[in-house]
Point group: C2
Chain length 225, copies 2
């Protein structure tokens, strides 16, 4: 095979990671062969092994890259959303936009959750737990001020919101297929996501707070690339 000179300039290792992430997300680790990855990248099978010692190493690398990306992005997102009281209610929207922009990553994480519960359990207990606690503390402050429902379990709440975002995005295309188009021509996916946001907000904010938060609407809807 004659190497395409142009494509060779971009980092081959990262191209392989991106392709592997997409294929693992779509067909699962066991449902994806090294040949599939090699073909999709446009190289031979041993070329993949050359960069990642084994298929298992490729999986680990793809998962690491994914978690690294999240660890870099999510905290910034969450801290920004909890920095001022006013912006906290947009947390779900931000989270959903984040995962929505890369559904493959949501699907891959969900698959890892199913395929390797023990290892992912350690990840949960280690990496995400501190962030869970930090946001939960914010929710608790809101409870003390009467802004959040007093009977909520802050940590469990945040955990569910996170899992909702992942699971909802991972299965959005399938589940939204059971919905009709909305009254104003709204797409099923839009209805699906809007109701998810409403549910997470309504289950946290007390009524008075909810109407207050809903009023100053017009916030910038930055499109994430």
């Amino acid at each position: 095979m004659v190497p395409a000179r142009l494509a060779e300039l971009v980092d081959m290792r990262q191209r392989m990671l991106a392709v592997a992430t997409r294929l693992f997300a779509a067909h699962g680790f066991d449902g994806t062969t090294l040949q599939d990855v090699a073909d999709a990248v446009g190289v031979s099978k041993p070329a993949v092994i050359h960069h990642f010692a084994s298929k298992e190493a490729l999986r680990a690398a793809a998962l690491d890259a994914l978690l690294d990306h999240w660890k870099q992005t999510l905290p910034r997102l969450l801290l920004a959303a909890t920095a001022t009281d006013d912006r906290f209610d947009s947390l779900i929207g931000e989270l959903l936009r984040f995962f929505s922009s890369e559904p493959d990553r949501a699907r891959l994480v969900l698959r890892e959750l199913l395929d390797r519960p023990y290892e992912m359990g350690r990840v949960m207990g280690g990496a995400v737990r501190p962030w869970l606690a930090a946001i939960a503390a914010y929710v608790e402050r809101g409870q003390e001020r009467g802004r959040h429902h007093a009977d909520a379990d802050p940590e469990a709440y945040v955990l569910h919101v996170l899992s909702f975002a992942i699971a909802a995005i991972a299965s959005r295309d399938v589940l939204a297929g059971a919905l009709d188009r909305g009254p104003r021509g709204e797409s099923p996916e839009a209805r699906y996501e809007r109701e998810l946001v409403r549910m997470t907000r309504a289950s946290l904010f007390t009524p008075a707070e909810r109407t207050r938060a809903a009023r100053p609407a017009r916030r910038k809807t930055r499109r994430r690339r």
Copy 2:
């Protein structure tokens, strides 16, 4: 291998289905070999092929059995929960108990959702849609009477509740690992499920209705086997 006379009396086909469901749920379809199934049942590999023409047929049969079971059980459960206004708020609890009693089935459905989105999309559009509409109509009635939040999207709400129950149970063991034991020695799993129930209720019922529904608590907590 000498056949165990006792075990042979129970229906071999159903034993295979049960084992396949468990293994597919745990390791996925591609992560499970016919040999795995045969070993777990205690027969030879061609014995599995004898009952199910192919591995694919085994998957289809396992999924069919699962969906049949749900189609027989869930409607009864849901109709009972929506028959009288008072009992509707226990719907989530019932749903959760239902899936909780067979987490393997929840996991298998989640995997199918990821592995074969197109086929599952047809299932959603076909089999579950009527039930979705029926329960959504109930939610709408509640909206007209001011019992349910007026800004809720009934169909999307019910869809999310269903997906919450499936996703939450499928990943419960992993996610609950990020939680501590509750104040009164409550297990992380219990906290996890209780908060899920609270969230789904709080996001549907209006405040006045919520307190009213919470009061006559003491309902029978039948244990499902």
